[in-house]
Subunit: 339 residues, 2 copies
DNA sequence: TTGAAAGCGCTAACAA
DNA sequence: TTGTTAGCGCTTTCAA
């Protein structure tokens, strides 16, 4: 049988209230009583009924997280590492995490609304902010707390953690230029994603500061999958004057681009340089290993989660807007321009 | 403000009881009342308080899932695809999914006990069964329902879904033999994992039926990561008489093995054949693309979840033990033995 | 066909 | 320092 406060009360001869207060370490319970109650609770193997607590306290101790992902195959290492960071942090702080996945669009907003409506969660973690973000509007309208991984355009205002994509891509572009590359292509994410903007701008800035004009033919867009990296790289390699380096805006697309190059018997790192962004675990063990920008996704997840919980507990945040500098990891996929 | 049954009762002039029964479609409520109640509930935007329901009904409508994973970086596509299958199915059937990760060992069992103790979930999905599985013992002892992905040794008895690893690896080994390979290595998972046993046995059976003796030097063990595939393949390639084919027991190790071969300027698919198991999305876009066995992880997750929910709802399972045949996907990483 | 009342396990205002 | 009482929102007897 499940042990309740009542059982402890009966066993100790105290009232349910006293037992409750003893267990919650209220100041107005005698030390002797506290000790007794704690001991008996331990012996009986008491665990509070979390649903009764939540009903009473009118909160859920739960965080909502809806991954904006397409299709049923959910295997982007980017998301899973982020998830681990958020989930473990939430667990450490005594919160549950309610996760689901929904492709961006109406169904997604419906899912948010349903959670808000039913007060299923105390707040949300938002992933991958967009230029015009219906999720943000929905939550702000309902006055629901959230913290985002990703910044917003001017009109929105909310706490976030983000990586400095502009800085990172500029660093990377400089690196490629320092290797002698001049015709550098970029496969960027769909422009409605906020981070696409920054990364692309960083790329362009890198070219500009070296006095290299941007060639629009070398600017492609991919939806962040390996497949798209592959397809877009093929298009680039088919150009009359193909690039000598391709900067993909995430690792998965970079792997796809590597495949495309290797299909044409190009040696990546020699005949062509290819770079990524994220430094997922696989980047170290691809062949060749991938030059990329390291984003501490696990830590970012943990940070976002912790910020949200702070907010939920009514604390002030020291920093509402956190921008992290990604670190350039040079590996074998980028090399000197072949003369 | 949040709308409760009370509000609907006030609005309709009915009692809370009647409103509750109307909303739950009880037979003893007049059609007119039902219509009225439903209409008003809709207008007011009523959503039941899930915690009150759970407190009353004494169930959680929640499924527990603890991933047995090492370290904080949780990026195995195997797990994330399984998670999607389980999570989406649970959501479709109105269940929540409580997820966490814990490395196999004491902390893991503690996590299970805590969930059992606190009656936090109605049942569990168990992933990657082991030869001696403390999780199984813990749950059976507490008489807690669960369904596993993976079989058990004789002493345990529980419902599961599993892939027929023996069949799959035999198929694969035959394929390699048909390409002319005779010195075939296998990198298998740690032997305490149940599926390691079946896959390795399938491999050995494949050799035996072709009259090829097993060479213990060609049998290596890796912990399912890319890194381990890389390390173990290096060892194999350093042998005085190295293998001409390596069958890794999952895709991640196969990628690692490919890297190791490519580091030595071997052309995978020509100079050496390398194969995997799982067919994660990446397998199609690696270079060369990976010959592997397809495991419908998303569907398996969904099946396991559905079985568990059936069980929780007191239904009988048509099949308590489901064994799926993996499908051989021949791609470019396996090729004719170079003469 | 409906409603009153009890109770799920817990917390908190108030009184003693 | 402790206990009484009420109530969180819901379901479910039982009686009308």
């Amino acid at each position: 049988m499940v042990v309740t406060l009542k059982d402890i009360a009966k066993e100790t001869g105290k009232s349910i209230t006293t037992v409750s207060r003893a267990l919650n370490d209220y100041g107005d319970v005698s030390v002797a009583t506290k000790e007794l109650v704690h001991r008996v609770a331990g012996e009986l193997g008491y665990t509070p009924n979390i649903f009764a607590q939540r009903l009473q306290k009118q909160n859920t101790d739960t965080i909502g997280l809806i991954f904006p992902t397409f299709g049923p195959r959910f295997s982007d290492p980017f998301f899973s590492e982020l998830l681990a960071g958020i989930g473990n942090q939430a667990a450490d702080l005594g919160y549950d995490l309610l996760v689901s996945t929904r492709a961006p669009g109406d169904e997604e907003i419906k899912a948010y609304r349903a959670m808000v409506q039913g007060r299923r969660v105390d707040g949300f973690v938002l992933v991958r902010t967009r230029r015009k973000d219906a999720r943000v509007e929905c939550l702000q309208e309902a006055d629901y707390p959230f913290v985002a991984f990703g910044r917003a355009k001017g009109r929105y205002e909310f706490p976030y953690v983000d990586e400095d994509g502009l800085y990172g891509m500029r660093l990377l572009t400089r690196h490629l230029i320092s290797l002698g590359h001049r015709r550098i292509a970029c496969i960027s994410p769909p422009p409605e994603l906020m981070f696409a903007h920054y990364r692309l701008q960083g790329f362009k800035d890198g070219l500009t500061e070296a006095g290299i004009p941007t060639d629009d033919a070398l600017l492609r867009v991919g939806n962040l999958t390996q497949r798209d990296g592959y397809e877009q790289a093929k298009i680039l390699l088919d150009l009359p004057s193909p690039p000598t380096a391709i900067a993909a805006c995430n690792d998965l697309m970079a792997f796809g681009a590597m495949s495309a190059a290797q299909d044409r018997d190009l040696v990546v790192g020699k005949d062509i340089s290819i770079t990524g962004f994220d430094n997922i675990p696989m980047a170290e063990y691809s062949h060749p290993s991938l030059t990329t920008l390291h984003q501490p996704l696990y830590q970012i997840g943990a940070m976002v989660c912790k910020m949200l919980i702070r907010l939920l507990q009514g604390e002030e945040l020291d920093e509402k807007k956190i921008l992290l500098k990604p670190e350039l990891i040079v590996r074998q996929s980028s090399g000197l321009l072949k003369s």
